[in-house]
Amino acid sequence: MSGAAALETRGLCKNFGALEVARDVNFRLERGARHALIGPNGAGKTTFVNLLTGLLAPSRGSVMLEGEDVTSLAQARRVKRGIARTFQINQLFRGLTVLENVSIAVSERLGVGGHMWRAAGRRSDVLDEAMRLVHTLRLAADANRRIVELPYGRQRLVEIAIALGLGPRVLLLDEPAAGVPSAESHIILDAIAGLPKDIAVLIIEHDMDLVFRFASRITVLVSGAVFAEGTPAEIAANQDVRAVYLGSALDA
């Protein structure tokens, strides 16, 4: 086993003109890690995820996936290498059913998404795999319903199911519980707790309950730079972090 992290960034920078949204970020996500990224609004958390997935290209620095430099790879290629994500705001195929949503992801992973002749309905490998994920996320009762007919909390689960359908080595969850009524957020929590152990998970979240329950390591991002990093206990005890972030978040 090599010492390479699941995902690592070295001196990652991104600026939009004069605005620096990522500043020399050195970050390691260990294999199988449960890692949280927190920080006040506008700290550059989503930008950081976009840099990791290749939706944005960095101004400087590099992104390494299991020791290999993927900085120059486009988003689709990185997905093939094992980086999957969910979006802060649902990005689903709204007119299609839950099962179709997941099976589109599975088709792409299995490399049959471009097959033009065989009916999608005859791909039992795709359908079985998609249905298995639908079950895993307890969406089975809604499998045949279209996204638009689902409550928001259930839609969030479809986001996770799609990402898992890509067979990721690294999973980036961008505020998975955002917009979910607190009565339903335990469903999301359970889903995240039940993620396969071999997948390295990075979660961006404002909900401190969720972060402290889920993460074994926390990175605090402020103004695009790493402000602090450590175990949940270390972060909770860190007076600077409390001052810039936790205090206000805990009061809220």
């Binding site: 997935t53 939706l55 988003q75 689709a76 290629r77 990185r78 997905v79 093939k80 999957a84 994500r85 979006f87 990005q91 689903l92 195929f93 709204r94 007119g95 299609l96 059913t97 839950v98 099962l99 179709e100 099976s103 589109i104 992801a105 088709s107 792409e108 992973r109 049959v112 998404g113 471009g114 097959h115 033009m116 002749w117 065989r118 009916a119 999608a120 309905g121 005859r122 791909r123 039992s124 795709v126 359908l127 079985d128 249905m131 639908v134 079950h135 089975a140 009762a141 499998a143 045949n144 799609i162 359908g165 890509l166």
Partner: protein, 327 residues
């Protein structure tokens, strides 16, 4: 419930009994209205053209206002081959039309499909106008503004002579070509490829994020659609025996769009229902208000846009859902 979902997807591409209806009706029309077959032939060609548009607009969500570029390219390919090269064999003529239109689709799609929305709309329109102007200026080859009248074609398969008076042969020929074209489109939209096109239409950002080569898929769909539109154009020239610049017109491009919106886009049979509805509406309105029939088409479109976004088929689906919900 869970088994239902998998089965619903697994059965979606299965043929249903009512899918025989258009073809039964098509053959019935041949016997019932022998004097209307010239009209019927145009109807079939319109359906094929609308079907090609449905693949890109209805399924892949590519908004285009210039699809007549490919219809025209096919029509002129057949015309020029017949006029200047003595290439009057119909089936190979259609193949040539598909090839030329497909290549133009590939080249223009490769460039244009980087853009979206309004930009794409205008660029498709520009492509069509460029081809129209090329047709106008290359008079030595295209006959310029007057086009190429009086073209004649060989017997189909060496057996069936084109029927100048009653269009019997033309009608059955167009029906057969439409059937083959339909089979191809049906196959495509139910394939994994078709599913991924629907994914692009529903959410481009997500489609990128699942690692799909989005642009390659779109260019491919556009090329196939263009080739099919080219076949429709080739049929037009062969069945009417002439071609002129009207094949490139905005009127034709907008007309086929109206057909699809009226019938219901992204629904495979929207092209059929829409073409029939449009031509019947045009016929009735022109009879009742000879000078202002387009006003009626416009009013209908406004009603469809406001109350029936998914066209006539969409209305049917909504009605069915309501009936199901009631029981």
């Amino acid at each position: 419930m869970t088994i239902d979902a998998t089965q619903a997807l697994a059965r979606r591409h299965h043929l249903r009994w009512w899918e025989a209806l258009p073809w039964v009706a098509g053959i019935a029309m041949f016997f019932a209205f022998p004097t209307y077959l010239a009209f019927g032939t145009q109807l079939l060609i319109t359906i094929l053209f609308a079907l090609s548009l449905d693949l890109v607009l209805g399924y892949a969500g590519i908004v285009t206002l210039g699809h007549a570029a490919f219809f025209g390219a096919g029509a002129y390919t057949v015309g020029i081959l017949a006029q200047h090269f003595g290439w009057n064999e119909p089936l190979s003529g259609l193949a040539a039309a598909a090839l030329v239109a497909g290549l133009i689709g590939l080249a223009s799609g490769y460039v244009l499909l980087r853009t979206h929305g309004l930009t794409l709309l205008m660029l498709t329109l520009c492509t069509m106008t460029l081809l129209e102007q090329a047709g106008n200026m290359g008079a030595a080859w295209t006959g310029g503004f007057d086009g190429m009248p009086g073209l004649s074609f060989e017997k189909i398969l060496g057996l069936f002579k084109f029927d100048v008076l009653y269009f019997k042969t033309q009608y059955l020929y167009a029906l057969a070509v439409l059937f083959l074209g339909f089979l191809v489109v049906r196959r495509l939209v139910y394939s994994s490829f078709g599913q991924s096109l629907t994914g692009v239409r529903e959410n481009l950002l997500r489609m990128h994020a699942v690692g799909a080569p989005v642009r390659a898929r779109l260019v491919l769909a556009y090329t196939i659609s263009a080739a099919l539109a080219g076949v429709a154009g080739g049929l037009f020239t062969q069945t009417t025996g002439y071609v002129n610049l009207a094949v490139f017109g905005l009127e034709r491009a907008a007309g086929v769009l109206i057909v699809l919106i009226l019938g219901g886009h992204g629904r495979l049979y929207g092209a059929f229902v829409g073409a029939i509805a449009y031509l019947v509406l045009e016929h009735l309105l022109a009879k009742a208000y000879p000078t202002a029939w387009q006003l009626g088409i416009g009013a209908t479109l406004i009603l469809v846009a406001l109350y029936a976004r998914n066209g006539i088929l969409g209305l049917g689906e909504a009605l069915r859902r309501r009936l199901k919900g009631a029981t």
